[in-house]
Symmetry: C2
Subunit: 496 residues, 2 copies
Amino acid sequence: MKKAYEQLQTYLERAQAFQTARVLFEWDNETLAPKAAGPNTSKVVGTLSSEYFSVITDPEVKRLAEECKEEALTETEKAIVRELTEEIEKLERVPAKEYREFSELTSESARIWAEARKNKDFESFAPTLRKLVEYTKKFASYRAGEGQKLYDVLLDDYEKGFDMKALDQFFGTLKDQLVPFLKRLTESGGTVDDSFLAGDYSEKDQEAVGRFFAEYVGFDFDRGVMAVSAHPFTTNLHNKDVRITTSYNDHVDDSLFSVIHESGHAIYEMGIPDELTQTLVGTGASMGMHESQSRFFENIIGRNRAFWVPVYEKLKSRFPGQLGEVSLDRFVKAINKVEPSLIRTQADELTYSLHVLIRYEIEKMLIEEDLDVEELPRIWADKYEEYLGVRPRDVAEGVLQDIHWSQGSFGYFPSYALGSAFGAQLYAYMRKKMDFEGLLESGRIGEIREFLRENIHKYGKLKTSRQFLKDVTGEDFNPRYYVDYLTDKYGKLYGL
Amino acid sequence: MKKAYEQLQTYLERAQAFQTARVLFEWDNETLAPKAAGPNTSKVVGTLSSEYFSVITDPEVKRLAEECKEEALTETEKAIVRELTEEIEKLERVPAKEYREFSELTSESARIWAEARKNKDFESFAPTLRKLVEYTKKFASYRAGEGQKLYDVLLDDYEKGFDMKALDQFFGTLKDQLVPFLKRLTESGGTVDDSFLAGDYSEKDQEAVGRFFAEYVGFDFDRGVMAVSAHPFTTNLHNKDVRITTSYNDHVDDSLFSVIHESGHAIYEMGIPDELTQTLVGTGASMGMHESQSRFFENIIGRNRAFWVPVYEKLKSRFPGQLGEVSLDRFVKAINKVEPSLIRTQADELTYSLHVLIRYEIEKMLIEEDLDVEELPRIWADKYEEYLGVRPRDVAEGVLQDIHWSQGSFGYFPSYALGSAFGAQLYAYMRKKMDFEGLLESGRIGEIREFLRENIHKYGKLKTSRQFLKDVTGEDFNPRYYVDYLTDKYGKLYGL
């Protein structure tokens, strides 16, 4: 008689195959698929989702998962069964028909969003967004525990251990500390010239530079590809097929840092060991943990003066006309210019978390306070004016800028700010253990990456973000490190 | 109580989704996937294949398909049930274990073939090829009717109504007529200068030209994409997502005519109506019928002087350095240059079917006469010498040139020659019904395409190729048209 755990494997392989196929369809949809393909392809994706749903909610799977708990399992096996049990609980409460409808909706909605954004036409996306919110709330209500808030259900999906109470506190700290600091900084009158980062940067050259820096920070092109999409993202079929995208405009720093950011995500997934990939624990621990890595590579490494010491000449040689006369210090100041702005993905490191704060507050209103989607453009604009002092002229640079809601992802945004804070806490610890800036200056970035791989990536989903922070830094999550990192770095750069 | 036919739909949708996902993985593998992805992705594709197998061989599916036959079905529904029944019969006789072993073998064997071809090393592929032949024969033997030859079982998969008896006759006609004609032509001593087709044709310009001509002949870029792969091919997820590839070298005509060829395949699939797409009859009728369209666009249209009258200036303006001094007539002669050669995919229109003839004769020997694969390189070379007067110097330009056998496709090759002959028969009929060359000369290619759509494409798999020929031209298949077309066209071009 085979062990229950072994019997489970056939089911898990099937679930894995359906998920992987869905990932490929999503990738294809964002990067290549012809525009008329939508509805027909959605049917296929809907069927694959239903198949996934059927496997996970198969009573036999539940029985085997229960039976496993009596068997002598390794830690990894236990973690897989734990993940499976959570997935079962998450799905079994949702009626199969609704799950399928939602899958079909989300496979269409990103396209509708992209079109609406292009046309700066919120109305054409509003009905879809309303449906997405309704499904999200309904599904959360099926899963909510006794007295549990719906938004807390969603937050838990992306980041275990961080509910509204924890996030109110976290964002409260940021608001209290960063808003006045930002005010001091902008009023200090120091202006930074970053005009040379915009101009005649050809797409071809930007792509070549992007590939160079992706590889330089550790992206392995034998195990990954880089393509173009409207909104940069990372996805992966498994640890040997990890894909990033970027987009190009006339600001060279936009594509450059988006590539380094997505490479951070990719390096995480490429660092998952063969024993874990294609299992339920074979991916990054959480959205926040993922952002901790991508933003670590983008900001803590990529916007660090030390990082540029060995490679700035390389960049200059590709763009002699634009950067030939620009010194390393002027360049580093420019890529760290603080300027309250409208687009989250282009925000500087200091104001970034305020963009996230706005989304957090709006999501709470959408999910907890029945805010109608029609109100969104106005509320969005008001909050930007309040926290950042800027007001979008249209919805493309306002409420339609992010893809997340169009994919049915609510509760995801806070991870961006949490991830940045996790990264800062890791950085503070690493600086005590190694000559961080010295390694960067001598081009030995591989040793930094190796630390992250050894302490984080190789564990996949075997730990939560809070456990990682404790195990690596010896301390629970502490947002103080993030605030200190930012005020210290930008205090120095702006001579405050 | 739902009708059996309705109950079948859920199964068919699932089978369709698994197949579509496999198609996307194949496309991705040929065009983009990183090189290390292979083994992990193969597991996923293997699982999707097994799922397809399970659905089709589910006893409940067979029962419902039987029950359907008592119900009042439309013609389309009947055709779908007929296709399903054939697919069941094809798969249910193969033990699941062997089917999976064969799937795993074929997911590896194309790689082994590619490596062997690169190294010009037949021995490294021979054991795999031997296994492929063995599985093919075994599977055919499971399915063979009383007294039916194994190769006839395989031929029937690609082209219903054409068994060895029919093909011996068809290829016999070609051999009798074309081999002496070719001899006369090559001995006539007329040489054609096509040197200007090779040279400094940049990939970027070739791509732009390819896109122009794809669109000009009717490829709809809202419903399709064009990419690059080692060997040009067409695939489709459904009628609104049809994909072609090409490859670029310094011969502009290679990419140009491969794009027009693949566009012919694509236009066929784009012409499948919405009611049929994503069903078992929602694709081209047969391999031969497909080739009849692709080779119709490539040769009968694309290598026709009339085709170039309105667009040759367009091509010239893109390549003024290379074509500026070349007259339309010289260009048309060059793209129709006859020259016995070694590589099928680069063969001219006249000698093409002799390449196919050789493969047909060899496949018969492999499947029916127990020819050992070790003999292949020699037999291949001998036949090329006999029919075409050229002898390969190595296996890369000999027996290892085609991917088909490495994918387990035996019985496919004859479709290429049949398709060309179907096309010629359609052409002969169309010339009686419309001013074919006049339409081309005035750029009204859409009217020709419309005829094909209306008479062929829109029926999907509702008819066999023989039925199409009868219904459209009023006559059963007649290879005479093909021979006449070739001897007439090339007799004139070469002044014979």
